[in-house]
Symmetry: C2
Subunit: 153 residues, 2 copies
């Protein structure tokens, strides 16, 4: 073992390692969230497009995600396999019950995060950007804390 610097010794005292199991569990939760992340973003976007424009076309989904049409199309195919959307070749995309319900849940959570960031003084542009990533990693407990602050005055 190499010798320890004064700073390192101090940091080791103030910031002890977690239990291995607890730490592994936290990373597992993050991996699980990432597995759902693109599904959530897609169904939320599809639902928003249907609401705002009457239908969700692949070309618009791809443009708003900032990826190529074939990439978006491949993920839509997975979502169809998994029962979140339906669509026939060359036609627009629809949400199943399962997809609609996930979209509603995701939008609600996304909105809480977005409004919370605005509430604590983050700019609108930054709140939009940060909430797009953060939304997938907040537990119900944290969302409740966010809601309390949104509702406080």
């Amino acid at each position: 073992m190499p010798p320890m610097s004064a700073d390192s010794a101090k940091r080791a005292m103030e910031r002890p390692l977690q239990e291995p199991d607890a730490q592994a569990e936290a990373f597992a939760v993050v991996r699980q969230a990432h597995q759902m992340e693109s599904t959530e973003d897609y169904v939320e976007l599809i639902d928003d497009l249907i609401t705002s424009q009457g239908e969700a076309r692949l070309v618009e989904v791809a443009e708003r995600l900032g990826i190529s049409q074939p990439s978006a199309g491949k993920t839509i195919a997975r979502l169809q396999r998994e029962g979140y959307v339906t669509s026939e070749p060359y036609r627009s995309i629809f949400l199943t019950e399962k997809g609609k319900s996930l979209a509603d849940k995701s939008r609600e959570r996304h909105d809480v995060v977005y409004k919370f960031l605005l509430k604590i003084g983050v700019s609108d542009a930054t709140a939009k950007i940060d909430s797009e990533g953060v939304e997938h990693h907040v537990s119900e407990e944290t969302l409740d804390a966010f809601r309390r602050i949104i509702d406080a005055g």
Copy 2:
């Protein structure tokens, strides 16, 4: 275009779509964050292990990430290719200057998120879990807002 429900009409008014470019940019930022995410988690963990236990062994990195040793080993190999760590076969893992500096930056940001969650009333266990994911998606602007709240009273 199918007809619109009353709820949908209301939602379309209250929650208009973003500009396509702005929305695409937000998703691009999230994808960029995800590209750095495992790198940040690894160097932060390796640095913590070196500080607390004198060295970082693959077996411990894998255990704390909750993944198999070969999976961790493969990512360590990438980190070495990219200049974040060094290690010789069957030996422990060291951080380069680049790796150490990323570890310090990541730990600082992680700690801000963790302390912020505690401050707004989230439990310790949940704060540990949520901060592990959220840390990668908070901008400097949002971190400053978090710091203000941590420092307030």
